[in-house]
């Protein structure tokens, strides 16, 4: 009975009709034209890449395709029929499903429930759950992507990456929902995955192509070219071109995205710019232990960038939080610039000149409804005040300066940060630690997650600039390449312990393979 429901029954269409077509889609937000007449064609059985800078309109376009954004003008055609999508259900009925850029799972439900949520099928009879069926349905989805997550685990006990896998398992339910070949949209699914998981995902994407169409968004252009057949590039809410993946190089895409030449070799460019030897040890960690890590020793010198790498659950994230006073420790000593730190809380950490950029931007990094300006000056209130009072002019000059310097794309400094694209939000969060210019240690947890190449280079440049001015940086990088490219030294962690330290000087960089060997 379950099998019958799971069997995709695909109605073949004539090959010329695109699975999905968008014509002249327009969407205005107050002060922003997010989409300015986008055209897009998704053919049957192809993987279409979508590339564009932060804020180019990718997410907006994709949300319009699943009925979450009501376009102001333009048409959407599905399999040769013009449609009006009013809701996610509508879109699903037309065979369109999406994995959202910001995670969207219910944390207190089991993975199984999340996977079947909204399309429980035989999992619910007469309003009552049939847990066994539900579990089986979910297990089948998880099997498809080769994940060994326990379907009955509560979602909030899973790691970020595991949750991402659940999301993908969930969207694949669309196969059961419709008799058409589905269109599956993946908005930056890889930004939080590790290379092994990414490979699994790509295997899935290739499998999906056999009977479905996939739209794939990523800021990692090599990835895009690797998995996609064709890439459409968006710029400023318009489609500016299309590239066949075969034979293309990331540079081609990048050029189209920004309208000029660029390089994707962004890590290495100026690695050796820093002058002279590291001055003095800025951060000294001795025998730091906590719930998920033990006996961690770590030195970071002023002007040095130290990367920490490790697989999920290595505890590196918690070490970072502990250094910021946001996670309790059980033993160990931490000193900053020769002064022993109490690790009593985030306030004290800030006062000592430590900055922290959390990985989960949406929940921990920003205050959504607050303005860009307020978010930016949240930590360093002094920077916008004269005495105890806010000086609006001072704030405006300061904030506008940083908006320009980091090319943050926002209609106004007073715009709520939640209205910005993910990449631009990240830049605001970073800027928060920079406005006062008194930072000594910066803890960056996946600081470039979701950023486009341009923004990334910008962030890398910033990190280098800060390092050159004597800031010590701890980096939990998005990828091993990033870690290698940016770091002067790399600490390898596994199972909560620092297992190895790898020197990483300019000119003598290890390969990712060297690190992977140390990690397991």
């Amino acid at each position: 009975m379950i099998d019958a429901e799971l069997e995709p029954t695909v109605t073949p269409l004539s090959a010329e009709v695109p699975a999905l077509e968008v014509r002249g889609l327009v969407k205005h937000y107050p002060g922003v034209k997010a989409l300015d007449g986008v055209d897009l064609v998704v053919r049957q059985n192809e993987v279409l890449g979508l590339a564009g800078e932060n804020g180019a309109g990718k997410s907006t376009l994709l949300k319009a395709l699943v009925g979450l954004v009501r376009p102001d003008a333009g048409e959407i055609w599905v399999r040769g029929k013009k449609v009006r999508l009013k809701s996610v259900v509508d879109a699903a009925d037309h065979g369109i499903g999406m994995v959202f850029q910001e995670q969207s799972l219910v944390p207190n439900l089991t993975a199984a429930e999340n996977i079947v949520l909204g399309s429980e099928g035989p999992g619910v009879r007469r309003g009552m759950y049939r847990w066994k069926t539900m579990r089986n349905l979910a297990q089948q989805q998880l099997d498809k992507i080769g994940s060994d997550i326990d379907p009955l685990a509560r979602t909030d006990t899973l790691t970020f990456a595991e949750r991402q896998m659940v999301e993908i398992a969930k969207v694949l339910r669309i196969e059961q929902r419709t008799q058409f070949a589905p269109v599956i949209i993946l908005d930056e699914p890889t930004s939080v995955l590790e290379s092994k998981e990414i490979e699994t995902l790509f295997t899935q994407v290739r499998r999906l192509r056999e009977f479905a169409s996939v739209v794939f968004v990523s800021h990692r252009l090599d990835e895009v070219l690797d998995v996609c057949d064709r890439v459409t590039v968006l710029r400023g809410g318009e489609s500016v071109g299309e590239v066949a993946a075969a034979g293309a190089v990331p540079g081609d895409l990048h050029r189209m995205m920004i309208g000029s030449t660029g390089s994707d070799d962004h890590y290495h460019g100026n690695a050796s710019q820093r002058s002279g030897e590291p001055l003095r040890p800025m951060l000294e960690v001795r025998g730091l232990s906590g719930k998920t890590f033990r006996d961690v020793d770590l030195d970071v010198h002023a002007g040095e960038i130290v990367g920490i790498v490790g697989v999920h659950g290595s505890g590196r994230e918690d070490v970072c939080r502990a250094l910021f006073g946001a996670e309790p420790t059980t033993a160990g000593e931490v000193s900053l610039d020769g002064t022993v730190l109490e690790l009593s809380g985030t306030r004290a950490a800030c006062a000592a000149g430590i900055g922290y950029v959390p990985a989960e931007r949406k929940i921990e990094g920003m205050v959504g409804p607050m303005s860009v300006a307020d978010n930016m000056t949240l930590t360093k209130q002094k920077s916008r005040c004269n005495g105890p009072l806010i000086a609006p002019k001072k704030q405006a000059t300061l904030v506008d300066g940083w908006i320009e310097r980091l090319s943050i794309r926002t209609p106004h400094r007073g715009t709520a940060i939640q209205r910005l694209s993910g990449g631009n939000q990240q830049k605001v969060v970073l800027a928060r630690w920079l406005v006062a210019g008194d930072i000594r240690l910066l803890l960056l947890d996946h600081p470039t997650r979701g950023l486009d190449i341009g923004a990334r280079s910008e962030v890398y440049r910033l990190m280098r600039e800060l390092a050159n001015s004597g800031v010590a940086t701890v980096l939990l990088a998005d990828s091993l390449e990033e870690a290698i490219g940016m770091s002067d030294r790399i600490l390898v962690m596994s199972d909560g312990r620092a297992t190895k330290e790898v020197a990483c000087p300019a000119g003598g960089k290890p390969t990712p393979l060297d690190l992977v060997k140390e990690m397991v």
Partner: protein
């Protein structure tokens, strides 16, 4: 049951042990029966409120809804005010009236987009008004043997009302664990916006939860009427905060998404045992409220110790 859920039951056991040590009257079978009987009405109210709290909403409508259903049932079963003698049907109608009032809170929440705090406060006032209209200055006393019997007759040592409460807790547990309504209520408390992204329309479920809660309050109002043999407008006075306290003490979060009926049942027993114990050990009536408040705070504080984290959010 995970460690983070163990706090309230431990607190319950501790309170039982402490009072048993302090008072020989407390540890009698009769008193345990008394505690269970006394807890019955609060338990039923708490069943209703728990579903609402699970969604992250709040419900202050119990006093009004209980008042309306108490008067309604008193006027529908055999009584001294009119010739009605509808028996069980009368009880059913009173519970339906209560469910309708609960539904009203839910509708105002999803249609007018007014926070539940206000819609339920408003519905409570409406319920009290309706009850006062029906009361019309003359106390309705019931003579219906069955309804009166619920409070008096016993099975295995406990009043029928206590068994009704046990039934409600069981029913509530089943709804919470196995019905889509219960699981969605739980999910709404966890991440309402995600449900919408998954194509689930949350509005009907919200209305249904408030309706269900209203029905529970209605039954509680009927139970109070059975206990007092009379319909009182004030039948539900104070039950709103008492039930919320019981639920929260039991481990249900006001922000939603955690806890459940069994947690709340533990909370109800805890609160009732506390009230009873303070009388049994002879704490001055002036101090009873204060001591109870202190112990509730201490119990919750002790219960959150194991799950205390640095960056934890407490609202």
């Amino acid at each position: 049951m995970s460690l983070r859920d163990a706090g309230p039951p431990i607190a319950l056991v501790v309170i039982f042990l402490v009072f048993s040590a302090l008072s020989s009257d407390f540890r009698t079978i009769g008193n345990v029966q008394n505690i269970m009987d006394t807890a019955a009405v609060l338990a039923v109210v708490t069943c209703g409120i728990t579903f609402v709290l699970m969604m992250g909403s709040i419900d202050l409508s119990a006093p009004g809804i209980m008042g309306a259903s108490a008067i309604a049932v008193a006027l529908l079963v055999a009584n001294n005010r009119n010739d009605n003698d509808l028996g069980l049907i009368g009880i059913l109608v009173a519970v339906l009236l209560a469910a309708a009032l609960g539904c009203l809170s839910g509708l105002a929440l999803v249609l007018l987009k007014v926070p539940s705090f206000m819609t339920t406060l408003g519905v409570s006032a409406v319920g009290l008004g309706v009850a006062t209209l029906m009361f019309a200055g003359v106390q309705p006393n019931i003579s219906d043997a069955m309804l009166k019997g619920w409070a008096v007759e016993r099975f295995l040592g406990f009043a029928y009302l206590t068994w009704i409460a046990v039934g409600c807790v069981l029913l509530g547990y089943l709804v919470q664990r196995y019905s889509r309504l219960g699981r969605y209520a739980f999910a709404i408390g966890g991440a309402e916006e995600v449900l919408a992204l998954s194509g689930v329309k949350v509005a009907p479920y919200k209305v249904a939860v408030f309706t269900l809660a209203g029905a529970f309050y209605g039954l509680a109002g009927v139970m109070v009427t059975s206990q007092l043999s009379a319909g009182l407008v004030q039948a539900g006075k104070g039950y709103d905060f008492a039930a919320i306290t019981a639920a929260v003490v039991g481990g249900t979060l006001l922000t939603g998404g955690r806890g459940g009926i069994l947690h709340s049942a533990v909370g109800v027993l805890l609160i009732t045992a506390l009230t009873n114990g303070l009388v049994q050990v002879g704490v001055s009536p002036y101090w009873q409220g204060g001591v109870q408040g202190l112990i509730v705070v201490a119990a919750v504080a002790a219960a959150v110790v194991p799950q205390r984290r640095r960056n934890q959010v407490t609202k």
